[in-house]
Symmetry: D2
Subunit: 135 residues, 4 copies
């Protein structure tokens, strides 16, 4: 299991007239969370694409437990629970500055060869880096 | 059961560098779908808020089956399968111009009193308008 | 001079907690306006990219005259005043359903060869289609 | 004159299929820049709204000099050149990690009383905090 945390501050343009973070914007927070989780391992999604592999999202599930508010500094806690194969699942827990859990979710992503457009294995460096966490 | 369809054209700003619709933008297409589904019944979400009721999203589930592409004219088919109570569930099927199903999803929304911030029943006009579909 | 109009309905996710359309979202309305203005001439930006030409934005200028509100059906009036060369300027006037002018702006775009990344002339079909409007 | 800098990392969802940051997203980077510039002075826009003052944008001008790319860590340099009155002008210079200037712009904002909707003076704490910079 691999767990990492990153911070995201809510932007004004991410709120809606209800005064909350628009529900569609959590997908972006998830993206920031998983990208930074990988970066903390020395892996960048940008390099992955440069190696010819892209990671489209197959599924997204979100539970909106409490409102995210403007200027809140949110903590996005990302968990990879199972060893990635041709797919990788990220779980998210988002808490506000008061420590209240406001959002839970998960996304399933595929590894896809950019040239063929077909599912593929993650690059070796990806596997090697994550292996120690799934002993 | 109530079913309605509406069209949405993919904007350039909604794509990402993968050349697909960014996964977070489907939430906006769902929003357009359910708002237009209600409008076709003579109900507008704007009036609902004016009546003091707002509808925050509690859950969102999305399955990304194929890529949405720039300038595609998508059809968002919205289904309300169960009679709404203090919550209402919308199901979505998004097809591209070729008729291919590219996205499936559902959202669960609550009716909330804007003043108290507490769950409430939908306004009577809402119930009355939807009743015929849930014999 | 070429003038065209298109309609855009304000989405919930495009508002912010001020209760107005977030100022950054007008760029998307401008995009819809200019793309539909070209489509009304039989030109699509998508085809332009397929022909190997892309049109990055060089400048954007916006004047926010009155608030755009949720669910407003806006009219985006687009004017091309000068014959396009390696650049093309679009002017925008956005009015709400009451006919009130809420936003004025203009964008300057370049024609760029996708392969070389260098400025280029618009494709011949583009020139030919617009020529009648610039005596 | 007051100058401040803040960093923003380009998110995947902020790119478009050209592979660049979508031009409409710079407005959000400007927002982050000016909000963080004020925060570095001990002022938060959130508190300003809590004091009953909001700051709608009146004008936005952007010059797109070079492409912003996915995962770039951008520096947003914000300058307030003139002492704010009922309006405040922010200037922006955005550079990428290589130090290249990719975007220049400015926005003009008003101070507006949330209750009356009319232009107003900035709160005293705002004036007092900025005064030393406009000797």
């Amino acid at each position: 299991m691999y767990v990492a945390e990153t911070r995201v501050r809510v932007r004004y343009g991410e709120t809606d007239q209800m005064g909350y973070v628009y529900y569609g914007n959590y997908a972006m927070y998830y993206e920031v969370g998983r990208v930074e989780a990988l970066r903390q391992l020395g892996l960048t999604y940008k390099e992955l694409e440069d190696m010819g592999v892209m990671m489209p999202v197959l599924e997204n599930h979100s539970f909106f437990l409490a409102a995210g508010l403007y200027d809140d500094e949110l903590t996005v806690r990302v968990t990879i629970r199972e060893k990635p194969s041709v797919r990788i699942r990220f779980e998210y827990e988002i808490t506000n500055a008061a420590g209240k859990l406001i959002n839970k979710g998960e996304t399933l992503l595929a590894f896809v060869d950019k040239k063929t457009g077909r599912p593929c294995r993650p690059p070796k460096v990806f596997d090697d880096t994550l292996k120690p966490y799934f002993g």
